[in-house]
């Protein structure tokens, strides 16, 4: 059952991408040329956050048993408003109804070779802000600042100017082979080795001009460590 403050226009599948910011690509460095990758990625490196991961701002997210830390993938999500297939960079944003702040939680993992199901799909690991900002109210989409706070202190900040593929390019390359449906969300990217939080921490993600979310981290027993 979805919380009353989960945005009603988010009702489809949540897709994300890694390695979509220049800092991440630089940090991986020559590893991208070596096994198991053997070449830098050509298409967007995508993953799915399934339905069990969705949670609302204000939630307490329980980490899987034995997990002491979680990376806070602070992201901007594009909420799809119209069926999006074979878009180009000129018309892509017309398929977007708005932007939403999302915290994509992952257990730390250093390999991108296999899908990260255990690390990225635990219950509650995709936290949504309450509201979707209409695209028309976000004039500077390409320059948004994404800020992460842990226990009230800023733990990370990045800018969408760092993206390898900005929103129009990412929509073009994703919808070349798959259709996004109204209510689906496409996250524009998360930082490599994003700030980490632990049970007991209070986390907030803010994107000025779009919105803000917050949540707490718990251990599996349900109580803060």
């Amino acid at each position: 059952m979805r919380a009353h403050n989960f945005p009603t226009s988010v009702r489809g599948t949540i897709y994300g991408v890694v390695l979509n910011d220049r800092g991440s690509i630089e940090a991986m460095g020559s590893a991208l040329q070596e096994a198991p990758y053997k070449a830098p990625p050509k298409a967007p490196v995508m993953y799915i956050k399934p339905g069990n991961t969705l949670s609302a701002s204000g939630s307490a997210v329980a980490l899987p048993k034995g997990a002491g830390q979680v990376e806070i993938g602070a992201a901007v999500g594009l909420v799809i408003g119209a069926p999006a297939s074979r878009l180009n960079t000129q018309n892509a944003l017309a398929a977007v109804q708005g932007c939403v702040v999302v915290a994509d939680l992952s257990l730390p993992h250093t390999s991108y070779y296999r899908p990260a199901i255990r690390e990225k799909c635990f219950d509650g690991s995709c936290v949504f802000a309450d509201t979707v900002a209409p695209l028309a109210s976000v004039p500077n989409l390409a320059g948004l600042q994404v800020e992460t706070f842990i226990n009230g202190k800023q733990a990370g900040q990045w800018s969408l100017t760092e993206l390898v593929r900005g929103a129009p390019e990412l929509l073009q390359d994703v919808t070349e082979f798959m259709t996004l449906a109204p209510g689906d969300v496409l996250l524009l990217g998360v930082k490599w080795q994003a700030p980490a939080a632990a049970p007991g921490d209070q986390v907030a993600v803010a994107v000025p001009g779009v919105g803000r979310l917050e949540f707490s981290i718990e251990s599996t027993t349900g109580s803060a460590a």
Binding site: I48, Y112, M178, A181
Partner: protein, 255 residues
């Protein structure tokens, strides 16, 4: 019991199998099976799929059978029903089918033990998890461009109640291309069994009714091209027909 879903006269209908290539509508009327527009037998929740889950197939792809399951996810855009067309990119060198037993979850499942796992299964259906190997990259492999393409995962025709399949780990699978058998196997040869997978996945996350687990495919891959008719069949579960079409006009082949 077997249940299918079709689109007929502007509405969705649940149908049952009848004799001689017919299906039965709720009011008892019969319809020729090939006159129905078949939909996937369920509206899916999370769609899991397994890679390299038959040792012979793993060898065929030059991989060791994995020690932990290779699980990936799909979105609902990938599914199409029985007798549908699947787009085959004209420029791709190698597209292959994968006949797979699909498990439909029936109850919320969290931290389920193998011994109890079958209590959480609503039923079974057949899936054909096509892959286009030209698009493989070594990031979150198999990547979505290979495995989450529109209409590239036919599924159906029937959702068969779990009670009607007493031993899902002992079913013959078979694929034919244009009438010639190209792939044969048995679910006995899965590396990770259905109960094992339910325990594994439900330890990671909560499974919900309607979630699907595509349990992998045995060896016997061949390239298929536009115009081919691919039939994936699983003993007692169903016979799923799919037509490959040029990707530029698969939604309107009359053009």
């Amino acid at each position: 019991m077997k249940r299918g879903r079709i689109f007929l006269n502007g509405a969705v209908h649940e149908v049952r199998p009848a004799q001689d290539g017919h299906i039965r509508l709720a009011d008892g009327q019969l319809l020729a099976e090939d006159q129905a527009h078949w939909l996937p037998p369920i509206e899916p929740g999370t769609i899991f799929a397994l890679g390299l889950n038959y040792a012979d197939h793993a060898r065929e792809l030059a991989f060791k059978a994995p020690e932990t399951p290779l699980v990936f996810l799909k979105g609902p855009n990938a599914l199409v029903g029985h007798n549908a067309r699947t787009p085959r990119p004209a420029g791709a060198d190698y597209m292959h089918y994968e006949c797979e037993l699909a498990v439909v979850i029936g109850k919320h499942a969290k931290n389920v033990r193998q011994a109890d796992a079958y209590e959480y299964v609503a039923g079974y259906t057949v899936a054909n998890d096509y892959a286009i190997r030209d698009y493989l990259e070594n990031y979150y492999r198999p990547n979505l461009r290979v495995k989450n393409r529109d209409a590239c995962t036919p599924i159906g025709p029937w959702l068969v109640d779990a009670a009607d399949i007493p031993d899902p780990m002992n079913l013959r699978l078979c694929t034919s291309v244009n009438g010639k058998i190209t792939q044969e196997g048995t679910t006995r040869d899965m590396v990770f069994s259905i109960p094992w997978l339910i325990e594994y996945l439900s330890a990671i996350m909560t499974l919900s009714p309607g979630d699907l687990i595509l349990t992998g495919t045995p060896e016997g891959l061949t390239n298929v091209v536009a115009g081919d008719v691919v039939v994936t069949e699983i003993e007692n579960v169903g016979r799923l027909v799919n037509h490959l079409a040029d990707d530029r006009n698969y939604l309107n082949p009359a053009l």
